[in-house]
Amino acid sequence: MLAAAETSLLDINVYATMPFWPLLGALLVGLLIAFRAKAQYAHWPVVLGVAATAVLAVTLFFDLGQKLPAPEGDSAPAVAHGDGHEVDVHHGETDAHAHADHDYPGFTHTLYNWMSFGAEESLDEHSNRWIPINFYFDGLTGMMLLFVTVVSLMVVIYAIGYMRDHHGHPEPGYERFFAFLGLFVFSMVMLVLAGNFVLLYLGWELVGLCSYLLIGFYFRKPSAAAAAKKAFIVNRIGDFGFALGIFALYMFMRGHVSAGENPLDYEVVFKYAGSLAEPSGYFGLSQASLVGLLLMCGALGKSAQFPLYTWLPDAMEGPTPVSALIHAATMVTAGIYMVARCTPIYELSPLALNVILTLGVVGAALTATMAVAQHDMKRILAYSTISQLAYMFVALGLAVPDSGVFHVFTHAWFKALLFLGAGSVMHAMGGVIDVRYFSGLRHVLPKTYILMLIGCLALAGVPLLSGFWSKDEIVHAAFDHSVLVGVIMLATAGLTAYYTFRMFFLCFHGKLRLPDEAGENPHESPPVMIMPLWVLALGAIFVGYLGVTFAVGSGEAFIGVFKPHGYFHDYLHASTIGHPHHGHGGMWLMYVSGVVALAGIGLAWMRFGQAPQDEPDRKILGPVWDLWNAKYYVDEIYDAVIVRPLRGIGHFLFGVDRFGVDGLVWFVSAVPRGLAFLLHFMQRGALQGYALTMALGIALLLLLWRWIDVVPPDVAG
């Protein structure tokens, strides 16, 4: 048990408070708003809350690294199965069930029981099944929390500077912004910590809500309001499947679990995950495939995968820190996290993995091409985010979720850096973000220039920066799977380098040009904004080394020093991910991928090095470029194929409601109405007529009385 362990830094109950500090901060800010306090210092509660969480997350990271049993596998010493139970807070019974096929090294900490399922028929009355509020701790949790909270903290600090005008006065809604940010960090930590699927769904929806609220932060702009709505609804489409997946999981699980086990707890689900190999009885799929595909729908929405990615570019309507935090670094990786978390289920379903792989490959390539033909800096980054998320999806589809999570990890740092850098540019340019309106900014924004360069290099996958290591692993796995997928991945990587540096050169190189909005004297951002960027930049450079081993002198190493797979992977293997099988693609691929990245950058330099005003690509590609620029008209197609017909059905049904259903009721009422029409001639208004009717009525009643014969027999004698 972690709490009892001597070396653990903090008590488990302290870790369990982790999500609530930002929430507390958000609530305090809410109170400040309610009592109309000054906005100037409204960020403090949230900053402190997030900082507390971040500190806890870092501590937890090291605690878990020490305490979790070392993973079994060929490279690590084998550990007995029973070890998982020693850290089991939730229920201490150690008798392994016969059909429990896996024990994962995580453990659960329950706060309280949330919802009741009532007593199940198969159980005795006293063992209700619950959906508890519980947290699950394992390697994946620790790793996710680490970057989520640290990146969040950086973004929150950055926002203190960003959400102000040039004179340092807070924007309108400053407090609201921080309240939402606090709420978001709470939700995201909840999502990662959740110990059962319903709580996961809670975090899932809450981060969606925060995304909705923050995209719509500038709600007076119709485009922002529409984008917020779109984000929420598209996510809900995925959540529809996600919820069904949870239902299905419960349906399949409840037969397997024993008394006292809550069938949606991670611990229970993954313990009995092996039983999901049975056929489900629907569509000829196995249970694992059905559950896996349904859960995947959620990931498609949340992680902006093809075909549900369309909300993410629009989401850039939100303030830039939001784009950095929610729509690049953290929230959008929730889908990847969820699929990785469910590795024991996906392992059983090649079908689901193939679907994930296909969607990932299509998405990665498609959105990379779109990014080539955009003008808006944030949108370029958004498409690149989608493309990178698709990369991670490919890793999941290739059954190497540790590589996927590694890319999630590295990506969070450099993408947050890029977005915040773009935000810095935007801040200086007075809100203009279209690369056509400015260039040569390296003269006015030198620090931002350096930081952005680091971010772009990392994103492009230039060797020795973090993006390179994680991306290379995925490319490796892709080549292991098939050459076609590998080539597509590699090409996409090249494309990524190309469009990233297209943006970079257009923005920072060439002649200095400024938009009118920038004012006379654009200046570098204040330190409160630049400092977090440095932290992120350090991350962008160095976090990749967590995932490699130094093997100096070994022949099987990149440039003779680095070998793939390192501490990160070992750490991660102490989780539900287990030990994915990695092929040995050979070192040559690493060199190739490095060369491809550099080639992409070089091509971009050749074409955009002087930040040309006209689009050189457009001249070459012509209509194809236009198609890319128009994002393949996917939004328009969705609108025409789904939205309009559905709304048409709504109109139709409302018409049916007004005339059809109501008419039906009218028709039913027509019978008495007709009868009344026939009878209303009797209503002649003459007094005697009524008297006559009354007399006849009395006669009839008497007849009836006689007929029923209620004269009591004893009186009749």
């Binding site: 003459a686 005697q688 006559l692 007399a695 006849l696 009395i698 006669a699 008497l702 007849l703 006689r706 007929w707 004269v711 009186v715 009749a716 004698g717």
Partner: protein, 251 residues
């Protein structure tokens, strides 16, 4: 007469089984005669037939005497009863057949007197007196006032013609048939004749009853009378206020 009596009895028993066909033929004839007679006697366009109607009604009355006499055979039914009953029914018939409301009202007085006789036969002296005083003395006078007030110079068209006499007679006599059939099969209370002393004390007895058991009801009746008075005044006032300007001064 005994033959008729047994025939009646048989019929009555048959009626006990309940169907209309089995009912006393005598009663049926009475009902038919009465209905036809009343139909013809009611004011209307059949001016020439009114005497026929009257004759039929007289025949019906005689039949009724037979029915009653038959029933009373061997029991103490005073001859006074027959007399009062016939007078009452005659008066009642005239009330509804006479074309002139004044005469209707006067015949109604006769009806009251006859009913008083019936009540006396049942040794209900107090009620008999009350009936004469309240009805003949008070109510009918009011009626006459109103009739005078609203009197038409000549025969009013609505008095000259009955409204749907056929339907009315049929409905009325069907109801009567059903009631009579019920009565004939129902057990008939006999009750001991009161002694002279008892009979003499009815006023006291009724009075005691009214002021003991029914004291609350009496209060309520008083309240009702008061409310009626107030209502009548209110209506009268209202008409004075409302209708005068509209009708340009009827009075």
């Amino acid at each position: 007469m005994p033959g008729i009596a047994s025939w009646v009895e048989r019929s009555v028993r048959a009626a006990g089984e309940w169907n209309l066909n089995g009912m006393s033929t005598l009663l049926v004839i009475f009902l038919v005669l009465g209905a036809t007679g009343l139909f013809l006697a009611l004011p209307g366009t059949r001016g020439g037939w009114r005497p026929v109607g009257m004759a039929l009604l007289v025949a019906a009355g005689i039949l009724l005497v037979f029915v009653l006499a038959d029933f009373a055979l061997g029991r103490e039914l005073p001859i006074w009863f027959g007399g009062c009953a016939l007078v009452a029914l005659f008066a009642a018939t005239r009330v509804i057949t006479h074309t002139k409301p004044v005469y209707s009202a006067l015949y109604f007085v006769l009806l009251i007197v006859a009913v008083t006789g019936l009540l006396l036969l049942m040794s209900a002296e107090f009620l008999a007196a009350a009936l004469v005083i309240v009805y003949a003395g008070a109510i009918l006078v009011t009626y006459l006032f109103v009739i005078m007030l609203a009197q038409q110079a000549r025969l009013a068209p609505y008095d000259a013609r009955a409204r749907e006499p056929f339907v009315g007679c049929v409905a009325g006599f069907v109801l009567l048939a059903i009631i009579a059939a019920q009565l004939l099969v129902a057990p008939s209370g006999v009750g001991a004749e009161p002694t002279v002393e008892e009979a003499a004390g009815t006023v006291e007895a009724v009075g005691t009853l009214l002021l003991t058991d029914y004291i609350i009801a009496i209060q309520l009746a008083g309240l009702l009378l008061l409310a009626g008075m107030v209502g009548a005044i209110a209506i009268a006032r209202r008409q004075a206020a409302d209708s005068t300007p509209q009708n340009g001064g009827v009075d």
